[in-house]
Amino acid sequence: MPEALLELKDVHVRYGVIEAVRGINLTVGESEVVTLIGGNGAGKTTTLRAISMVHGPSRGEILFRGEDITSLRSDEVVSRGIIHVPEGRHIFPSMSVAENIEMGAFQRKKTSRKELNEDVDRVFMLFPRMKERRKQAGGTLSGGEQQMLAIGRALMAKPKLLMLDEPSMGLAPQVVETVFGVVETINSEGIPVLLIEQNAQMALQAASRGYVIETGEIVLEDKAQSLLGNDRVRKAYLGEE
């Protein structure tokens, strides 16, 4: 296993009296794609929200490059380079595509306009569709395009770790393939990705390692290839008998 960039140690998250995540241990190494798969309500999104400190953990440590980030605010976590693409895309509907993408660079305070424009161009290169539609309001894009936009926006923040929450949700199979293709492209540039998915098949194909989460606990952890071959995973998540 490569050296850990992100490390969760015995992380618990509660919503009031309910403990949604119960003692998770998870690592993401430099330039890895790691996936966390599990059913509805297993605690996948909760884990991500804990890492980005939108809803922090009640117990346990989250180390990013050796620093404990559990005492930080969500905007401070973002400025460390942990960029969270929330579930359901969450683009800014009335801002134009270009403005949405610019929003991603908001915490990079000392960046020159020129540098920023170069980064915007890079995103447009990755998503030519976005360039065509740069003046269009974000809310008028299709679901797949909105997902691309959300990822493109996240890239503007120069992520040290990109966390994607169910990027395939509600998308047509063909679009899902494009999205996962993008994940691979991003990773090939050396950006580590933590990918949360219900679509276990696609996620495990894209990832190098995987974790399976059930009712708030990690039940399996292995190389993605071996998980694809694991009986339990095949039955529970890949719909095979």
Binding site: S74, P86, H90, F92, S94, E102, R133, A150
Partner: protein, 419 residues
């Protein structure tokens, strides 16, 4: 948005400006009208800050314009009083427009800040009877920054604990805040309870070359006091809206989750909106207190908070022109109704006392036909039109395409109905 890639390059053309902001109007206007206006429009835009001076001059001549024989009713003190009322209402709607329109926080207790500004003024000047409690007895002018600061502190104090709440809950808390402030003023000894504080001194100008007592001289001096306040507020809000902070607010308003995922310090920015909104109403409170010279808890009913919100919504959330128009409507319409009704009754109801009801009707009509408000902000319009619209192919050549094709199904249905 000035900083947007792509749009800035074309902004010096009236046609493209209209296309972007008023597409339907633009379609109706022929080139013969737009082309000549373009020259004047470009010139106007090139004036920069001089535009505020021109606006000040135009606002300055209003008292003289009102003094004409065609509308005798506007002559004398009555017209000037309505003008003044409209003026401080414009300040209130501008301030609330930052909170509700830009940051998207539903504040039902905005007038509490106005009230705090007014009471600060009363308690820091030589008001009321000699034995009445004063914090200090300072000149009226000196007190202005304190009225603003107290309102801002109140905005901060209310904001920090409550701005984690959303939507309806925030509305209820702010509504409660208004009542807390009002009932405190009603029951405290230093505020003289429900009797209020009288004889708040008017400001005086005592320069070697210019002497003026606002209390004695012509009424329209009060209006002149409002002009710089209004223009400064407009300038501040325009700059904020076009800055990083404005973009933060837009992001929070549109999608709080995404905003925080992008690193926007959500709570901080919301508190900032509260504080800035409160600062404007602090100025309004100061002017109100020294103009009327008397304030009491009953001068600041809950209805006023709701009417200010009503004015902002009718005018157009997040739109400066809309806020101004809303204030004008809310202050002048009741006067018009009062004038037209002449004390008559319908079904035993006194029309005059029911004049607030017209805002209910107006609000419903505006919400049905112009949901973004009478002068809707561009951004708000697109927010309201935002819908699925998944498979509409929109080309860059057609600037109104995103509006025309926004909700394909609805659009098609409507067309079918017409055919």
């Amino acid at each position: 948005m000035a900083s947007t890639t792509g749009t800035a390059a074309t902004s010096a053309d009236l046609r493209s400006h209209l296309d972007r902001n008023y597409p339907r109007l633009s379609q109706r206007l022929p080139d013969a009208v737009v082309a000549p206006s373009n020259i004047a429009w470009r010139g106007w835009r090139r004036l920069g800050y001089f535009r505020y001076l021109i606006a000040a001059a135009l606002m300055g001549v209003i008292p003289w314009l009102m003094d004409n024989d065609y509308f005798p009713i506007l002559q004398g003190g009555y017209g000037i009083n309505v003008l003044f009322t409209t003026g401080y209402w414009i300040l209130l709607t501008l301030g609330l427009s930052v909170v509700v329109g830009l940051a998207g926080l539903l504040d039902l207790g905005y007038v509490a800040f106005f009230m705090l500004g007014a009471y600060t003024t009363a308690l820091m000047t030589d008001s009321g009877s000699p034995d009445q409690f004063h914090i200090v007895e300072w000149p009226t002018w000196t007190v202005l920054p304190f009225a603003v600061i107290v309102a801002m502190i109140a905005g901060f104090v209310l904001g920090v604990p409550t701005l984690r709440l959303r939507g309806d809950y925030l509305a209820i808390v702010t509504l409660g805040f208004h009542e807390i402030v009002r009932q405190s003023a009603n029951n405290l000894t230093i505020t003289n309870g429900s009797r209020g504080i009288a004889q708040i001194p008017s400001p005086e100008i005592n320069l070697p070359f210019w002497q003026l007592d606002f209390g004695l001289d012509a009424e329209y001096y009060w209006w002149f006091l409002l002009i710089p306040a209004i223009l400064l507020a407009v300038m501040m809000i325009r700059h904020l809206d076009n800055s990083r902070v404005g973009r933060y607010w837009a992001a929070i308003r549109e999608d709080e989750v995404a905003a925080s995922a992008m690193g926007v310090p959500v709570t901080k920015m919301k508190v900032l909106a509260f504080v800035i909104g409160a600062s404007v109403s602090g100025v309004a409170g100061w002017i109100y207190a020294i103009k009327f010279g008397y304030i009491a808890p009953n001068s600041f009913p809950l209805l006023q908070s709701i009417l200010v919100l009503c004015a902002v919504v009718i005018g157009g959330l997040g739109s400066i022109a809309g806020a101004v128009l809303g204030a004008i409507l809310v202050t002048t319409l009741p006067e018009v109704v009062r004038e037209l009704s002449g004390g008559e009754e319908i079904f035993g109801f006194d029309i005059e006392s029911g004049r607030i009801a017209i805002f209910g009707v107006l609000l419903i009509i505006v919400m049905i036909y112009r949901p973004g408000g009478l002068l809707a902000a561009k951004r708000r319009r697109t927010e309201l039109q935002e819908a699925g619209a998944a498979d509409n192919v929109v080309t860059a050549e057609d600037p109104h395409a995103h509006i025309k094709t926004r909700d394909a199904d609805l659009w098609d249905e409507r067309k079918k109905g017409n055919d």
